[in-house]
């Protein structure tokens, strides 16, 4: 009797999960399907002809390509800056003790918990005092302010698992602190640094809410997508969406398979 009710609740749970996954995938699937339909505005219900014509059209979007280049320009600065700041903060927070550390910690994770638009606005308001107008530079600063928190948390998690005796032993054997950091601490942290750099790149590249408030008259890929998506509804953006979905799918599957394989 008891097992019967349990299995019934399991069935209900499975049905619910199935519906949830459907809800998450349905809009994306519709967007992908519409990208292969010759109808414009994009539609899945008004099916005209199966076509790949919308994809080459992306290459003709000069403005979009210029904005894409800006996205990379921003990321080139945001990624190293965030990793460096995150690494420094992780080391300080792991090695320092006392109440002050908790306060520092609260301040350093606060940008993660702040709405993105507020960060963007605060940055342009601050830099206007020095005559710096909103542009790529302010976007780099606004993005770094909150993206750096993620490397900090990732690197901190790894630092906490470090065997401290290893460092002390190296020092006892006469290693200089700089040598110790370069030959023991950094190699130990390398996996965390690599994954936090990847995360920082994704967060910078995909960011919209902070960017649109801090970039002024310039654009990134995301601000341009939003501008076009608001104005019109064209299958060219759907084609871009297909690329986004495909790349994400590829990386997720590779990531999952690698994780399974490591087990």
């Amino acid at each position: 009797m008891k097992t019967e009710t349990m299995s019934r609740s399991d069935v209900m749970l499975n049905v619910f999960i199935g519906m949830f996954v459907m809800f998450m995938f349905l809009p994306l699937m519709l967007m992908v399907m519409a990208a292969f339909n010759s109808a414009s505005p994009p539609s899945v219900t008004d099916w005209q002809e199966l076509t790949l014509a919308w994809f080459p059209r992306l290459a003709e979007e000069d403005r979009l390509i210029g904005c894409l280049q800006n996205s990379f320009r921003i990321a080139v600065f945001v990624v190293p800056a965030s990793v460096l700041l995150g690494l420094s903060a992780a080391i300080l927070l792991t090695r320092l003790e006392g109440r002050a550390t908790n306060v520092l910690y609260a301040f350093l994770i606060s940008p993660m918990l702040t709405p993105g638009i507020v960060l963007g606005i605060a940055t342009i308001v601050f830099w206007r005092n020095f005559g710096v107008a909103a542009d790529l530079f302010t976007t780099i600063l606004a993005q770094t302010a909150f993206i750096a928190s993620f490397p900090m948390l990732i690197i901190m998690a790894r630092l906490q698992r470090q065997d401290r005796f290893q460092e002390e032993a190296a020092l006892d054997l006469g290693a200089s602190p700089f040598f110790l950091f370069r030959r023991i601490t950094l190699p130990f942290l390398l996996p965390a640094i690599v994954s936090s750099a990847a995360l920082a790149f994704l967060m910078s590249f995909e960011n919209y809410n902070t960017t649109v408030f801090s970039i002024g008259g310039s654009c990134t890929l995301t601000t341009e997508i939003a501008a076009q998506a608001r104005k019109a509804h064209t299958p060219v953006i759907n084609a871009l969406g297909v690329i986004f979905v495909a790349v994400t799918l590829m990386f997720s599957v590779i990531y999952t398979l690698r994780k399974q394989w490591e087990k």
Binding site: F16, F20, M24, P27, L28, M31, P41, S43, V44, T45, D46, L85, S88, A89, I91, L92, R95, L96, N102, Y105, F107, L108, I109, S110, P111, L113, T114, P115, I117, V118, I121, A122, I124, V125, F126, T144, A145, L153, E167, L171, S176, P177, F181, E206, Y208, N209, F213, I225, A226, A229, R230, I237, L240, V245, T248, L249, F251, S252, Q260, K263
Partner: protein
Amino acid sequence: MKHLIEIYGWPLTTFFSACVGLWLAILIVAPQFFMAELSLRFEDRGDRLTQTVNDLDVLYRHKGTMEYDLEHGPACNTMGMINPMMTDDSSCAQLGVEGKLRLEQQILETEDLIQSLLVEEQNLKEIKAQQYPYSVKNYTAMTGLHAWTLTKTVVFALTVTLIALAACYPVAYALALRSGPVKTAILFTALFVPYAVNELMRIYAWLTVFDLHGLLNTLLAIVGFAALASDEVIVWYRFPGTVLVVLVYTYILFMVFPIYNTMATLDPNQVEAARDLGAKTWRIHWRIIIPHTKPGIAVGCIMTFMLAAGSFSVPHIITRGLQPKWFTQLIYDKFFESSNWNLGSAYSFTLLLICILFILAIMAIFGVKLRQLAR
């Protein structure tokens, strides 16, 4: 600090401290401080100083026109005043000697007026500089309509958070405690993909559903409640409900992963033991799983609320200008349309305060500390 120097040496320690100091001071604290400061400076657009500045502007332009006319002959001039209605009139072909004299006289008079206004502007500026510059007028100046918009935004964000919590707890539970490793891996990937796809693309995808000839209206047409050919369709973008649905869709997965992460650290044997001892399912959740998962639930709620309340992308793309502006759009307009940064800063700071209040409330409700939050 001593410990730190012992291990890494003072050059590296100084370097790390400098990095953190820069991050803290220039990227986090100073911008927020300056935004708060600006929000406390009320810019009165109807006061005498602003009017004087505007008047001066008009006079300078007027004088410039007259000087041009004096030198090159009037484009079309009557009594020194430009009249665009008379461009083709023969009366404005040439300036006589008398006309020139009159124009010179008027330029001198304008010059005098400008001088007296400049003195007044100087005086007003001095008075303003002596006045205490701070007030809360930017905060109290919020009109009823804007206050209503703010309330609506907060209510929507709370609703999104509650819906997300109700839907994600079972999902996280199934993912963490009710499935084998393979099923977990597949489900995890299935949820990770929509989570990682660009936010704008996920929002944009909904246009296919809500469009005039989109999925919803086509389905209605099949049932007979709409007619696509004659455009007798429902304009879904008009309803605030569309924003709610897309907000839920866009930010719901920020609730799943934190809950899953903490729930996955629970030892399943603990649940088994409770069940063997005869505890009912709801009791196992209430006494074992939920207490263990609290930090994850708290993080999920905070992230979802913050993202939903501060979302500019969803209303920007989904409303298509067919609904009253959302609070984030109002803030955007204050900065980039009507260019009143002081008021915009006040609105922005209000949003920040609401998020801080929400975080404090969540921490009090779930009894978690900040250290437990971000892990």
